[in-house]
Symmetry: C2
Subunit: 191 residues, 2 copies
Amino acid sequence: MADSYHHGNLREALIDAGIKIINENGEENLSLRKVAAACDVSHAAPYAHFRDKEELIEAIKENVTEKFMEKLIEAVEGKPSADSAIIAMGRAYVTFFSKNPDYFIFLFGKQNITAHLKMNKEYKGDYPPFLLLRRMYLLHLEENGLEKSIEEQEIDLIKIWSIVHGMASIACMKGVKSSFNWNNIDERLLT
Amino acid sequence: MADSYHHGNLREALIDAGIKIINENGEENLSLRKVAAACDVSHAAPYAHFRDKEELIEAIKENVTEKFMEKLIEAVEGKPSADSAIIAMGRAYVTFFSKNPDYFIFLFGKQNITAHLKMNKEYKGDYPPFLLLRRMYLLHLEENGLEKSIEEQEIDLIKIWSIVHGMASIACMKGVKSSFNWNNIDERLLT
DNA sequence: CTCCAATCTTGACACTGTCAACATTAAAGA
DNA sequence: TCTTTAATGTTGACAGTGTCAAGATTGGAG
């Protein structure tokens, strides 16, 4: 199967090769032709699996988001309360991107993330990490017997997500060398 | 001077044309050749003013950051206290990018911002909006007679910047249609 | 066994960033 | 005023890019 005309599993191979290139040389060095070459395949072969370059990038993003979600779920599960789960999730969020800033740039660089804050919308198609956060937040309200208006809930969600996402963003900036003292911030994460 | 061999003020014209293209068609449609064409100049003319494409983009970023700073300073000046100044600055921060999300993507999409958080470093070369924030924060400590360790100060700064920057980031995401109810968040911005 | 649809190749096109060689001109110094 | 020079702009070339059209190959359904 190595030197046969048909590759066998080109789609996955292209995604893996794309991730490797992004990790080693950054997104700006990702080209369809290089990805194809890395799979020992002609320059137009990817078009049998992806409509255009954007669609390959989108597939890679899904793949990276899955890895991201694994860390978040791992952080959340087994926690005694929603509060501690949310805090653990925030830590995992920042830790994940601190370890590989390239992923942050890759995932959020063009802001093409979908997240409907309105609680009465269907959640389908929303950004999975945000879905998890919302689930934990609703659990938090329930566990503590809190009743909040939709608007208040939205604000809380924005606040929580903002500080975590903002920290990740700042941590990924070049030149920001300060160590983040997460331990001190934990208890203030939730309002 | 219109049809003379020398343009006269090509450098500024290239920057302006670049901003226009980014505003109208997004950064992904910015090419040196288009910028040159927009200035009625040959495709290699920009190389007399910029080493490469990156240097032009960097110049455009400086230009956009100046506009950003104008809004921040405008929000800060005349405020009765450092606290109210910081809150106003946060509002201006989010408002600026809510109005033109393309600028957020352009400025922070690749995270190439320099901000040395350590208080004992020289501030030169730091990101101007961050410098302003730090100045206001130190004023806040002074006005309220607070004494904090360097580490505590850093944490405060990261927190403030994180929530504001994070909100701006989330506000610029596709699909986030919720209105930001800033009025409710103001009094909780400072710890 | 045949045929078809999925998959892959080849060749082309326009566009890109960049460089080298050359042209023009404003301005400084004689 | 004339000459020279450095700054600025042009032309032409090159490799690399995304994308498409036409054709080759092949696994698998019938």
